[in-house]
Symmetry: C2
Subunit: 580 residues, 2 copies
C-alpha cells in the first residue's frame, strides 16, 4: 500500500491527559483519537493492529473448536434481571430505555444472552460440549476511565462460553481454552504469563489470568523461575517464613518509641531488624438485620510481620469476614485498645477482639509490637507467655520476592503485569440462575457446567506497547504490527531510479504477501524516519539516489541501533528470512 | 469443516411473528435468533454470510481508495447537538445518560463523528480528497421493527464519508463510490439496480439508491428497459401522457352518480374509460407564527387523472407545500367545496383554493370530475370554458408501467426493490453545521464538500433471500453462501469406504480453498438433504455405499431439479469449474 492512499497522522506531542506511555504513543502515532472520556475512534493505523489481533484470536479459537457467532450490543434487561445483575451491577452497567420505556443494557459482557441461547439450543447431552464465542463492542461505564484504551469505557472484547455436562468435561473445555490462549498470546509475540487467579465472588472452580509482562502493569504477578508456579498476588500463597517458633529469650519490656508509629521507624530506633516487628491492623465486620441496620459489630486484630502487607482478598476469605469488612473507626479502636493507631498491639486489650496472626507471625518469638499506649512499644513479646495464642492463624499477607514457592520448588519472584485475558470455570452459577438445562442419558434435566473466556482485544494494543517501546516510539511485535515493512524512498520526486526501485521493492514484497507500505508522502528523511519509528513498523528500507549509485539500500530493524547497507536483491532475501 | 465442529440448528416451522419469507427462512435455517423486538443474535450460520458480505465490501472499498477506521457505538451527544440532530431526530435515536448524567447516543450513523474527525485531521487542500469508512453496529429504535433483519433495530452498516474541496471533485468521489457499489453488488451475485433517488430534507446534490430486485420489496423502482434510466418512484418523472389539449366536443353535463364516489365506479357507471376521469385531492398548508400557532391556512386542490396516484414527495416540492402539508379536514372541505369527499371537483367552488393540475390532467378535454354535490359528477368538462386554467401545472403523480421514459428512449417498467445501499452527495450541510474547513491554496478556510455512502450489511442477507429462494429454502448466491459445498455421506458410521471418500473429497476441496462442510452429524438422508436445501448451500455431493460400488457419487446444484451421477474425480473437476 502507498502512504498517500492510506492515512498517516502523527503528533509531535501527546495530549496532556495521556498519563501512560502506551496512551501517549498511540495518540502520537495516530492509532486512536479521543471522542469522549474513555471513548476512542480507532484510526486506520490502529484498526490495522486490531484486525491482526482479532485474526489471530479467531484462528486459534476456531482451531480449538469454538464456534463464532455475534450477540447484540443492546440487550434486553429481562435476561439480566434473571441473574440479578441488572440490579446488582453498579453504574458500570450502562442502562437505557427504548422508545416504549422498556429497559435495555449496553453489553459489558454476554453471559446472560449466551446462557439464553444455550438453554434454547442445547437440549441434549449429545450436543455437549459446545463453545461459542464472539468478538464484539462492549461498554463499561468506568468511574474513572484512563490510560487510553487500557481502561476505556467502550472496547472490543472476545468472549467465549463453554457448556458441558459435568465438571470433569468442563475442566477439559477449560484446559482447551487455556491451551488456545497460550497459542494466541504466543503468536502475538508478547512476553506473558498465565497466572492462577482468585475466583472471587462467583466462587467458580478454576481461574487463570493471562498477563502481559510490563513494568507499568497494574497487577503484581508472582512466579517461581525454577518451576511452573504462577499466580496473581491476590491468590499467591504465603508460606510461614519460619520453620518453628523459637523459645523466648527476652523479657517483655515496655520501650518508649516517641513519635515512631511505623514498624520501620521503631526497628530503626531500637536497632532491631524489621523482621522482628509485628504490625497491627484493626478491621471491623458488621452483622446486619434484614433492613440493613447493624445489629452487631466484631472487631478484628490482624497481625503481620513488619515487612509484610495485608492481602485483602485473603482476609476476605476468613470465616466472619467473608460477607465484607471495613477498617475500624478511631472510636472503635480507642474503645478496644485504649490507644490511638500507630501503637496498637495484641497485648493488654481493653475489650476482646478476634486476633488473626499471619502464618509467619504465629511462629515469631521475642517480637516487637505496639503497647496500646501512645509512644510506646513492647519488645521481647512471646506467644503463650505474654499473650494468648491467636484465635486464628491464616495466610493473610502478600507474598514478597524471595519467599519460598508454595510448590516447594524454589523461591518466588514478582513482576508487574497487564491482564489481557481471563479463563474462568464458572460452574453452574448462570445455568442455575437461568435454568439452563440439558437432558442426560436418562432423560433427566441437568444444569450445564459453564466456563467463560475473555480477551481484551483493544487492551492488547496498550499492553503490547507498554511492554515494547523505546524513547523513539512503539516497537510492534511482527505479528500485530500495522505494517511489517516500510519502504522509504528519499527524493522520490527528483529521481526516477529511486521511485522505480522503491516501487519495485514494494511490489515484490506485496507479491510475497508481506504487509508493506511505500511512503510516497514526500516527507523529508528525518520526519519520515521519525514517523515510522514512532508508529513502530518492525522493518525499514531506505532507498536513496546515492545508495543506488553504489547498488545499495539501507535496512534497519526497529530494534537495531543502526542501519545496514546491502544490495536490493539481498534486502529482499533478508526480509524473506526475517518475516518467514 | 465438519458439521460436528460447527453448529447446525434448523427448525421445521418458522415462528408466528415471521411475516416475510426471508425472515421465516433465516429463522428456520438457524441464521438468526430473536433476542428482542428487532434485535437478533447472528448465529454461526448467519455470521458466515455476514463475514463474506463484509469481506467483499471491504475489498472494494479499499480498492476504491477508501480508508477503514472504526468509530464508537456510544457517541457523545455534544456533536449531535452541533448539527441539531440530537433534538431533531425522533425517538429512533436511542439516547442514554452515563453515570455522570452526561448525554450520549447509540449511533444510528456517523456523520457527526466523522465530520469531527475530518475537521481535526484534514486541514489542507493537499489532504483532500479523502474517504473514510467503517463497518459497525448501528441502532435505530424503529417504531415497528419487522421483517427480521430487514427492518431491525440493531444492525450492521458500512458507512463511508468523502471529503472534497469542491463540488466538482466531490462528484468524482461520488462517482468513484457509485462504481465501487456496482462492483460490490455485482460480486454478491444479486440482481440489483442503481436508481436515482430523491435527495429529501438534506437537499444534497445527487443521490442514488442500490436496490435488490425482489417482488416483496418495499420500494417501487422505475426503469426503462431500453435505456439507462432508473429512479425510485418517489423521483421518477411523469411526463404528460397527451401531446396537446384536445378541443371541447361535449357540453358540461351534471350527471347523477349515486353512491359512486371513486373514479373507477363513476367510469363504469357512465361507460367511459377511467382515463377520461379526473380525481380531486384536497390538501391544506398551514402558516405558523413563531410560537407554532396557525396564522393562515391555504387549501389546495390537486387534480390527477383517475388512474393515477398522488406522489407526495413531488407534491412536497411545490412552492407553498415545501414546509409541509396535510390532507384537509372534512370541515375545511365542506367550507370550500360545499360537498363531502367523493364528489369534489374544480368547478363551482364556494371559496377560492389553489388548483394544481398534473401535467396530463392539464391537457385533458371533455373530462369527468366531481360536481361538488353529493351523488353527482360533471361530464364534458373543459379547461378555459367550464373552469379557469389551473393555478399550477406540475408533475405530481406516480409514474405507471408503460409511461414514456423521461429520457425519451422507451417506455417505463416498474419493479419492486429492497434498498440495500445509498450514495449521497451531501454538499456542505454537515461541514457548515460543524464548521469543518480546510485551507485552500490561498490559505483561506473553505467548507469541505461531503458525500456519504451506506450499505446495510445485515439487510443484504434478507434481500438476497427475498430474491433467491424456493419452497425448499434459501438459494444463496455463490459469493455469500455460508458454505459453497456440502458433502453428505450416507451411512458414514456403517461404511469405512463412504467415510474415507467423504473425508477425502472434503480435504481435496479444502486444499483448493473451497468453503466446504462435511456433514458428519449422522442424520438420515432425507433430513440431511432438507437441512442443506433450507440453509441454501449452492453445491451438494452425496456419497453412498451403493454409489461408490459403481464408482459414482451424486452432485446436485441448489437450483438443479435433480442430481447427476459422476465419478469422484469428475465431481472435483466439476466443482473446480463451477467455483472458478
Amino acid at each position: 500500500m502507498k502512504a498517500s492512499q492510506f492515512f498517516v497522522s502523527t503528533l509531535k506531542e501527546a495530549p496532556a491527559d495521556a498519563e501512560v506511555v502506551s496512551h501517549k504513543l498511540m495518540m502520537r502515532a495516530g492509532m486512536i483519537k479521543r471522542l469522549g472520556a474513555g471513548i476512542y475512534n480507532y484510526m486506520p493505523m490502529g484498526l490495522r493492529v486490531i484486525r491482526k489481533v482479532e485474526a489471530i484470536i479467531r484462528e486459534e479459537m476456531n482451531r480449538a473448536g469454538a464456534v463464532e457467532l455475534l450477540m447484540p450490543v443492546v440487550q434486553p434487561a429481562e435476561l439480566w434481571q434473571e441473574t440479578g445483575r441488572f440490579d446488582k451491577m453498579g453504574p458500570e452497567l450502562l442502562r437505557v430505555k427504548d422508545r416504549h420505556g422498556r429497559d435495555f443494557i449496553i453489553q459489558p459482557t454476554s453471559e446472560e444472552v449466551m446462557t439464553d441461547i444455550a438453554r434454547q439450543e442445547l437440549r441434549s447431552y449429545k450436543q455437549l460440549p459446545k463453545n461459542f464465542y464472539h468478538i464484539q463492542t462492549k461498554f463499561r461505564d468506568e468511574r474513572r476511565p484512563r490510560f487510553g484504551i487500557m481502561r476505556g469505557r467502550e472496547f472490543t472484547m472476545k468472549d467465549a462460553y463453554s457448556f458441558d455436562r459435568d465438571v470433569a468435561t468442563a475442566t477439559l473445555s477449560y484446559q482447551n481454552m487455556y491451551a488456545a490462549y497460550q497459542r494466541i498470546f504466543g503468536r502475538f509475540g508478547l512476553e506473558f504469563r498465565a497466572v492462577a487467579a482468585d475466583t472471587g465472588a462467583i466462587g467458580g472452580e478454576l481461574s487463570h489470568e493471562f498477563q502481559v509482562i510490563a513494568d507499568t502493569g497494574e497487577d503484581a504477578i508472582v512466579y517461581c523461575p525454577t518451576s511452573d508456579y504462577a499466580a496473581n498476588i491476590e491468590l499467591a500463597e504465603g508460606l510461614a517464613l519460619l520453620a518453628a517458633r523459637g523459645a523466648a529469650t527476652q523479657d517483655l519490656t515496655l520501650s518508649p518509641t516517641p513519635g515512631k508509629s511505623t514498624c520501620e521507624d521503631v526497628a530503626a530506633l531500637l536497632g532491631l531488624p524489621l523482621t522482628q516487628t509485628v504490625k497491627s491492623l484493626v478491621l471491623a465486620s458488621d452483622e446486619l438485620d434484614q433492613d440493613g441496620a447493624i445489629v452487631k459489630t466484631t472487631i478484628w486484630l490482624l497481625l503481620l510481620r513488619g515487612d509484610h502487607d495485608l492481602n485483602e482478598v485473603k482476609a476476605g476469605k476468613i470465616e466472619g469476614l467473608k460477607n465484607g469488612f471495613r477498617f475500624a473507626t478511631a472510636a472503635e479502636i480507642e474503645e478496644h485498645f485504649g490507644s490511638k493507631p500507630g501503637y496498637l498491639g495484641p497485648i493488654k486489650l481493653l475489650k476482646p477482639v478476634k486476633v488473626v496472626a499471619d502464618r509467619t507471625v504465629a511462629l515469631m518469638s521475642d517480637f516487637v509490637c505496639g503497647a496500646n499506649q501512645a509512644d510506646h512499644h513492647f519488645t521481647g513479646a512471646n506467644w503463650g507467655r505474654d499473650l494468648p495464642e491467636p484465635d486464628l492463624v491464616a495466610d493473610i499477607r502478600n507474598v514478597v520476592a524471595g519467599d519460598p514457592s508454595p510448590d516447594g520448588k524454589g523461591v518466588l519472584a514478582i513482576q508487574r503485569g497487564i491482564e489481557v485475558g481471563h479463563v474462568f470455570l464458572l460452574g453452574t452459577k448462570y445455568s442455575k440462575d437461568m435454568n439452563a438445562t440439558f437432558l442426560d442419558e436418562n432423560g433427566k434435566p441437568q444444569h450445564m457446567v459453564m466456563g467463560c473466556y475473555g480477551i481484551g482485544v483493544t487492551r492488547i494494543l496498550g499492553a503490547a506497547i507498554e511492554q515494547n517501546h523505546d524513547e523513539r516510539g512503539i516497537i510492534w511485535p511482527e505479528a500485530i504490527a500495522p505494517f511489517s515493512v516500510v519502504v522509504c524512498p528519499i527524493g522520490m520526486d527528483r529521481s526516477e531510479e529511486v521511485k522505480a526501485a522503491a516501487q519495485q521493492l514494494h511490489d515484490d514484497l506485496q507479491a510475497l504477501g508481506v504487509d508493506v507500505l511505500l511512503d510516497d508522502r514526500g516527507e523529508r528523511p528525518g520526519a519520515m524516519f521519525a514517523d515510522w519509528e514512532l508508529v513502530g513498523v518492525p522493518h525499514r528500507v531506505v532507498i536513496s539516489d546515492r545508495g543506488l549509485k553504489e547498488g545499495q539500500v539501507e535496512y534497519q530493524g526497529r530494534r537495531d541501533a543502526q542501519a545496514t547497507k546491502l544490495g536490493l536483491a539481498e534486502v529482499l532475501d533478508l526480509l524473506k528470512t526475517k518475516l518467514a
